[in-house]
């Protein structure tokens, strides 16, 4: 089984490309937009085939003043099965961040000390302010929406192009700021801002999919932290709430001591994977 995970980890970019295409495949959108997307993918994208879970939560909790049971249930089920695995494998905006980081300029490695900010974004911009104002405030500021919805609509629709005002330029400058940050720091949006990641992060510890480290084999060379997109020392906490389950550490560990397994009643079965 570990061979399969190793094989899959080497082909993650293929899954990311297929996911970006599948989540924006247009043809089924008349029906499938009732299904929350397992990633942060803007439903304003002209080709989006699923609904953005964060936009849907804001609409149901904020505009309708109802508890979004269905959307939270879908998000919770994904989190209970794979934790933040969707962030590492399915999220198109996460993939964009990885592509932008490949620009060959000096890099800035930031610690995870302030990654609680994403919980503030979740509570304030997704629940509290939308409930008070009945407006989807996270969507108004979301850089993924600008990239996947705003820019394409302004290009393809003359009507929308004529409606562009100061707010559009503000959104564009927020996206520009994030693109600049992405070029020097790995996945800054996922680590400090994404409210969907904040919903999944606490579920990493209790998700069915788990990483484990063989402490007897691990030589603490920190190769896992070097290649980790969210800067984790995997041997300290293999199921850290920042982990996006990209499995880069599984692929790159020189001792092959990081394994993927399913949560189980006994430790032995868990390790066997």
């Amino acid at each position: 089984m570990q061979r399969f995970w190793y094989w899959l980890a080497k082909r993650r970019v293929i899954v990311q490309v297929l996911s970006a295409i599948g989540l924006n495949s247009y043809v089924t959108q008349a029906v499938t937009k009732g299904l929350p997307c397992p990633a942060l993918n803007c439903y304003a994208c002209p080709a989006a085939s699923l609904a953005c879970p964060i936009g849907s939560i804001q609409h149901i909790a904020g505009a309708r003043h109802q508890v979004p049971f269905y959307v939270l249930g879908v998000v919770g089920l994904i989190g209970a099965l794979i934790g933040r695995g969707s962030c590492g494998w399915l999220c198109p905006f996460g993939w964009v961040q990885e592509l932008v980081y490949k620009i060959p300029i000096p890099k800035l490695r930031l610690p995870n000390r302030f990654n609680w900010t994403r919980y503030v974004v979740l509570v304030v911009l997704v629940f509290v302010i939308p409930i008070i104002t009945r407006e989807t405030w996270f969507c108004k500021l979301c850089p993924a929406g600008t990239l996947e919805g705003g820019i394409p609509w302004v290009i393809i629709s003359t009507d929308i192009r004529q409606m562009v005002g100061a707010f559009y330029w503000l959104k564009l400058s927020i996206l520009g700021g994030f693109l600049a940050w992405m070029s020097v720091t790995r996945r800054p949006f996922c680590r400090w801002v994404c409210p969907l990641g904040a919903l999944w992060a606490p579920l990493n510890k209790a998700s069915a999919m788990r990483l484990s480290v063989d402490e007897d084999t691990c030589i603490r060379c920190n190769r896992c932290q070097e290649i980790c997109p969210v800067n984790i020392r995997v041997y300290e906490n293999p199921n850290d709430n920042a982990c996006i389950r990209c499995l880069a550490c599984v692929r790159e560990c020189p001792q092959s001591c990081i394994t993927v397994g399913a949560i189980s009643w006994s430790l032995e079965t868990d390790r066997a994977g």
Binding site: Q29, A30, V31, K33, G34, L35, P36, C42, Y43, A44, L50, A51, C52, G55, S56, H59, I60, R64, Q66, P68, F69, Y70, V71, L72, G73, V74, G76, L77, G79, A80, L81, E135, T136, C139, K140, G145, T146, G149, G150, W153, V154, M163, V164, G165, F167, Y168, W169, L170, K171, L172, L203, K205, A206, A208, I263, S264, W265, S266, L267, D270
Partner: protein
């Protein structure tokens, strides 16, 4: 022994989470949230594209 106890607790938490999530999905579907999500997603979100 302590590790095994913690594993059992996490396993139980995981199964409870799955049951709660499935129950929430079914409750939401019962209260017609599918249509609320579908209709909201089909209307062009002007906030998302930066038009006020």
């Amino acid at each position: 022994m302590e590790m095994i106890g913690r594993d059992k607790l996490l396993f139980a938490v995981n199964r409870v989470l799955i049951v709660l999530a499935v129950a929430a999905i079914l409750a939401g579907l019962y209260w017609n949230e599918w249509n609320a999500v579908l209709n909201n997603a089909r209307i062009l979100c002007l906030s998302c594209i930066g038009i006020e």
